[in-house]
């Protein structure tokens, strides 16, 4: 069925490449500073402020060496079909595009730019100065705040009026509010101690503190240039944010967004080299007053105690190129993915050591992860990009920490969704062809794929409503809608329009900690006091 696509696309691209030739001959004499600003204002949120890549490839003199400037100009003009790369035709002039290409082809990856605790402090914006003026209950009809679902709408250009967090009542599928975020919203997390607060983090590392009752942002802070890592502590008092650019992390007061301490992310990697590192996932846990943060390149997980001085315990040699993670067993066990070793490492957050490394398909990206109880066992589900022959979803027994099954699926996957009350675990197929339109459903008991849904767009980030009755999926890229299915009949029941939707985050996660666990998992963990939990990293790529 994808026969049409390739030849047509090719002929169109050839036609367009020819098209850029006749334009103005003098290269723009714009200086590097202007071009850097143009890059910052249009490209850096996806490609990384240091030209080192973020959710899109690195663009610098090394990566673009030997590439035809004409082909690059035509790509920038039309965008790259079936990806997040938008068409800049009509938004930038031919001279600007020309100038950008020569700038990119001559600029090396930049040194890690600094963004200090003072920069963070100065970036705080206050939109509602007196929070006592806010309403004390939701200004819209909703039975429980658990029913709120937040969607990170990227906007086609990763910035502008289409970039916002959209909140939906997941029992009626009607939008209840939206928060403009300037650049693409990436992660939404909820405060475990007070249901009114949500935190939105953007591609450009701003965090918005949002009052869900009145559906408005009350404060924001810029924690870096790029990077999606965000976690909230179990008591709701602290936020931790981690960046790709620069290589640091910060603990903020969850109330005022004032920075309390920054951390330089560096350490000795599993190959014995001292490296400066991107931040991977940041997570709070109902198990303890701690944050865990992954140092992607250093292959380490740091556990930060939320007490005087915020001391750090470093767990080393976890795996090469760490990324995202999920919790199990009352939040005591952390399952973290290593892209380059193709394993998921299980970490005991009490002992602060590695329990075991489990096979995880290839290039595992666990998204928010999922865990379900089946016949007395807790099974974890892990997705992976599958950049090899093996496209499987891994299932682990999280009690014994062993691989139960590797379920063959149609392609690479990026995020699994499960719910205690829903029969299927949904995984998004992301392979770059028609399969990207689909989501596959795995029967929890038989552990087989039983159904494929054709959602449209680039279908990704499935999420169940808090009651488990509905499955939400983003029809991303140009799909421009969130599609809602009945979780059992798998019939489409609703659609909500927005520009380039991506990650979907149910407020119910606060109660079940990891998607698929019992709704009270987080409120009664084995050896921890009664409390509620926390978020995770999802949607980073």
């Amino acid at each position: 069925m994808n026969i049409l696509k390739t030849p047509l696309r090719k002929s169109i691209l050839t036609a367009l490449a020819a098209l850029v030739l006749p334009f103005g001959v003098q290269a723009a004499a714009d200086n590097a500073k202007d071009m850097h600003q143009l890059f910052e204002d249009n490209c850096a949120s996806c490609h990384g402020s240091d030209h080192g890549g973020f959710l899109a490839p690195a663009l610098n003199s090394e990566t673009l060496k030997g590439r035809s400037p004409t082909a690059l100009r035509s790509l920038i003009m039309t965008g790259s079909f079936d990806t997040l790369m938008p068409p800049f035709y009509g938004r930038l002039t031919d001279d600007q595009i020309r100038g950008l290409v020569s700038h990119l082809q001559t600029t090396p990856k930049l040194a890690n730019p600094s963004w200090t605790i003072d920069d963070i402090k100065k970036s705080i914006k206050v939109y509602v100065s007196d929070e006592s003026t806010l309403p004390d209950k939701p200004t819209y009809a909703i039975d429980s705040m658990d029913d709120v679902i937040g969607v990170a709408a990227r906007g086609k250009y990763g910035r502008g009026s289409g970039s916002k967090a959209v909140f939906i009542n997941s029992t009626t599928h009607k939008q209840i509010g939206e928060i403009p975020t300037g650049t693409a919203a990436h992660i939404i997390d909820y405060n475990p101690a007070n249901p009114r607060w949500a935190y939105i983090k953007t591609d450009t590392a701003e965090i918005f503190k949002v009052d869900l009752y009145s559906m408005q942002a009350v404060r924001s802070v810029k924690t870096g240039y790029n990077g999606p890592g965000l976690g909230v502590s179990r008591d709701g008092k602290y936020i931790m944010a981690g960046s790709f650019v620069p290589h640091n992390a910060v603990i903020l007061d969850a109330d005022t967004l004032e920075p309390l301490k920054t951390f330089e992310l560096e350490g000795i990697d599993p190959d014995g080299k001292m490296v400066s590192s991107d931040s991977g996932m940041v997570i709070g846990t109902p198990f303890d007053d701690i944050f865990a943060i992954a140092l992607e390149n250093a292959g380490q997980v740091w556990v930060v105690d939320l007490k005087e001085g915020f001391p750090v315990t470093k767990i080393t040699d976890v795996g090469r190129h760490l990324h995202d993670a999920f919790l199990s067993h009352g939040g005591r066990k952390l399952m973290i993915a290593s892209y380059d070793d193709s394993i998921v490492a299980a970490i005991d957050l009490k002992e602060r050591k590695i329990i075991k490394k489990l096979e995880a398909g290839c290039v595992p990206h666990v998204g928010g992860g999922s865990a379900v109880e089946v016949d007395g066992r807790t099974l974890g589900f892990g997705t992976n990009f599958g950049d090899c022959d093996k496209t499987v979803v891994s299932v682990w027994d999280l009690d014994k920490m062993e691989v139960v099954k590797q379920i063959p699926v149609a392609g690479g996957t990026e995020s699994p969704a499960a719910h205690a009350n829903a029969p299927y675990v949904a995984v998004d197929i992301i392979s770059k062809d028609r399969r990207a339109r689909t989501v596959q459903l795995i029967d929890k008991k038989s552990l087989e794929v039983v159904k494929t849904l054709d959602v449209g767009g680039h279908a990704y980030f499935p999420e169940y409503s808090a009651d488990g009755k509905f499955l939400y999926v983003s029809a991303g890229y140009s799909g421009d809608e969130v599609v809602v299915y009945d979780s059992t009949s798998l019939q489409k029941v609703a659609s909500v329009s927005m520009e380039s939707p991506a990650g979907i985050f149910s407020h119910g996660r606060v109660r079940y900690m990891t998607r698929g666990l019992s709704p009270d998992e987080a409120t009664a963990p084995a050896n921890a006091p009664r409390l509620r939990p926390v978020g995770e990293m999802k949607g980073a790529k």
Binding site: M1, L8, L16, L19, D82, G155, G456, S497
Partner: protein, 103 residues
Amino acid sequence: MKLTLVTASLLLGLASTSSVNAASIYAGQAKAAAVCSQCHGIKNPSAEAPFPPLAGRDADYLKTALKQYRDKTRQSDIMNAIAGSLSDDDISNVATYYARLKP
């Protein structure tokens, strides 16, 4: 996207009462999703972009416009290049597909 494989049977039903059939709508959909939506979106173009919307527009208008772009009686560097590689069938399929969508 409104028209999915799942609804193909429904479309086959429609085919008897109208001149289009499921295969051509499907072809139109595939083309639109693969190429045109990059700029025009499926339901709507980006609010941030200079591209006209196509969903729900009159099919004949869309066909005429595309043919004019193809033979360059209507000038647009970008659309002249794109329409240049479309056949009559492509134009008819994609116009029918977009015309049937609700924006």
